[in-house]
């Protein structure tokens, strides 16, 4: 009974959140919430690769781009195609999954730093392709990107209607998808496949010797993670109505990785928390400028610079004080406590505070 009450409370919170936010802070903030949900999906996808299977991926945003461009090409005047979103989203997720395998196949023997460099290069390659595939034949629209993308429609109803309230309808759509990805992640983690991923993370040679086809299982991790990215890419394109290579830079990849690491690698709730925090924090720090104005009567430090400085500083602080992430899984917590010299001397109370 108590569990049901808790569930109902969560549901009510999630349903009322956008309206409360809209009333209190304005529509800009509802839009930020929408983006935060997209980041939750991205972080959960990357968590499969990095957190579950232990494969460092610095080019994850490439899959987001693949999903977004799939949507853009199949539902815009660019090619004159206007497929419905329930067809495009699976196509986008599937194509991203294929790209995930394309990245995974040549990197099967790599780990750690080496894998990170290759994945970083892969992310850049995709972005540069998107940037330059406007000649000789205009496929991606080049640096201008693709404009006038169809909004997501549920039957005859466009989510952009009524005008000005799109942020609310998209919130619920994204919420649905974010919950679904969290559900899928949880199920996968506690399955035989999730155990195989964990085994590979722990000791690849032993995993192979115990009958796990490490090649297939690693490719599966890349493909699953990538398809989550592709899915949220499609949603992003429908929401924004515009895509360009600028949205898919290395900074984005690093941001998503930070969400996973900061939240607590391999721990789904932690990753969701990390994604929400890092999606919202930089926006909240925009208020630094007006705050300075009201405190000192003038702008003392350039707010845009200070914003990123504070952001970076808080990241460093978190990693120093809580190396296992803000909300680590119980296992990972023990692991880091056993490993790191600094962690050994940590006050265990700090860890328990988050639970």
């Amino acid at each position: 009974m108590k569990k049901h009450l808790k569930l109902a409370a969560y549901a009510a919170l999630l349903l009322l959140l956008p309206f409360a936010t809209g009333l209190a802070l304005g529509k800009t903030w509802v839009r930020i919430l929408d983006f935060a949900l997209l980041y939750v999906m991205l972080a959960l996808g990357l968590n499969i690769v990095v957190g579950f299977a232990g494969l460092l991926d610095l080019g994850y945003v490439a899959f987001f781009a693949v999903g977004a461009y799939c949507y853009a090409l199949l539902a815009s005047p660019h090619f004159g195609l206007h497929l419905p979103f329930w067809m495009i989203l699976p196509i986008g997720a599937f194509s991203a999954g294929i790209f995930g395998m394309l990245l995974g196949a040549p990197t099967l023997r790599l780990r750690g730093d080496y894998l990170a460099i290759v994945t970083l290069g892969f992310g850049e390659i995709i972005r540069i392709f998107l940037n330059n595939l406007d000649t000789p034949y205009n496929v991606t629209g080049g640096p201008q990107g693709i404009d006038l993308i169809d909004p997501i429609r549920l039957g005859p109803v466009s989510l952009n209607q009524p005008p000005g309230h799109a942020v609310y309808s998209y919130y619920f759509l994204f919420l649905l998808f974010a919950l679904a990805t969290a559900f899928v992640s949880t199920r996968l983690q506690h399955s035989r496949i999730g155990r195989a991923w964990a085994a590979i993370r722990e000791d690849e040679i032993a995993a192979e010797a115990m009958g796990i086809d490490t090649r297939n299982v690693k490719l599966l991790a890349f493909a699953m993670g990538a398809s989550f990215g592709g899915l949220s890419g499609g949603l992003f394109a429908g929401f924004e109505g515009f895509v360009s290579p600028e949205s898919f830079t290395l900074t984005e990849s690093i941001m998503i990785l930070s969400m996973v690491v900061l939240g607590g690698m391999g721990h789904i709730r932690g990753v969701v928390f990390g994604a929400l925090l890092l999606a919202i924090l930089p926006e909240a720090l925009r208020y630094v400028g007006p705050l300075e104005q009201s405190l000192f009567g003038k702008i003392v430090v350039d707010p845009s610079g200070l914003r990123m400085l504070l952001f970076g500083f808080s990241l460093i602080l978190v990693m120093l004080l809580r190396p296992a992430g803000l909300w680590p899984s119980p296992t990972r917590k023990r692991e880091l406590l056993a490993h790191g010299e600094t962690a050994k001397h940590e006050n265990t109370d700090i860890y328990d505070a988050g639970r």
Partner: protein, 256 residues
């Protein structure tokens, strides 16, 4: 019994590492249901042979058959699926997983739930998951670790870690269980209980291949053994025979 008595046939296996012949022309046969040991001085090629039989290395020449099926060149995971499972000399458990999870991983190649099944959680998948957990529990009990089922592998005592590796290997339902120095670093008490465990495993129908430095354990437990020296097999047979073989005495004690 129409089944062939020969479980594993190794023929003329050779392997070089940059000009050094680690193994040359080694042949041996392991019969069903026996405990077969491989001994030899350091650098004799025991571990190389072992790694070839478990798929970590590919042989340069020769081949080996399990129940008449050609196995040389297969990947470790394929060999595990075919029925050769192993433990490691320097323990390689999944250190940050619990004991029972370690054993459950061993069930991977005998189960088949797909991504879709895992996501949907249908009745087949749930039944399979339940059987995995039950089998893992049973195996932990079998090696005497059931009270530590939920402890992290890294926190188990050394002897228990060795036992857990055996349980994990048994979870793949091997026909041949290959143990790389299972008694290394054990005290006499632990060695003794290991010996009993190995005898139980043999009694339950699993053939054992054993590399071991502890000659007393080897002589006390194995049915037949082969001695390697400088990459060649210098003797094979029952312990009493091999012990008195002059070539073996020379290899271990030096020429007189």
């Amino acid at each position: 019994m129409t089944q062939d008595a020969k479980l594993l046939e190794v023929r003329d296996i050779g392997r070089t590492f940059g000009g050094l012949a680690a193994l040359s022309g080694v042949s041996l046969t392991i019969n069903r249901g026996e405990i077969y040991a491989l001994i030899g001085p350091n650098g004799a090629g025991k571990t190389t042979l072992f790694n070839i039989l478990t798929g970590i290395y590919k042989p340069d020449s020769g081949n080996f058959r399990l129940e008449g099926v050609e196995m040389a060149g297969k990947k470790p995971s394929e060999l595990a699926k075919s029925g050769i499972s192993r433990t490691f000399q320097n323990i390689r458990l999944f250190a940050n997983m619990s004991a029972i999870e370690n054993v459950m991983v061993g069930r991977h190649c005998r189960t088949r739930a797909s991504v879709l099944g895992a996501i949907l959680g249908n009745s087949n998948t749930r039944a399979e998951e339940k059987s995995i957990a039950e089998m893992a529990k049973h195996l932990l009990d079998y090696v005497g670790l059931s009270r530590h089922a939920h402890m992290l592998a890294r926190n188990l005592s050394y002897g228990d870690q060795r036992r857990l590796e055996i349980a994990r290997a048994l979870a793949t339902e091997p026909k041949l269980l290959a143990l790389d120095e299972p008694a290394a670093g054990m005290n006499p008490l632990e060695t003794d209980s290991l010996k009993r465990l190995l005898e139980t495993i043999r009694r339950d129908g699993v053939t054992l291949l054993l590399i071991e430095h502890d000659v007393k354990l080897v002589m006390g437990i194995c049915d037949r053994l082969a001695v390697l020296n400088f990459g060649k097999k210098i003797a094979e047979g029952e312990p009493s025979q091999v012990c008195s073989d002059p070539l073996v005495i020379e290899a271990y004690l030096g020429a007189s």
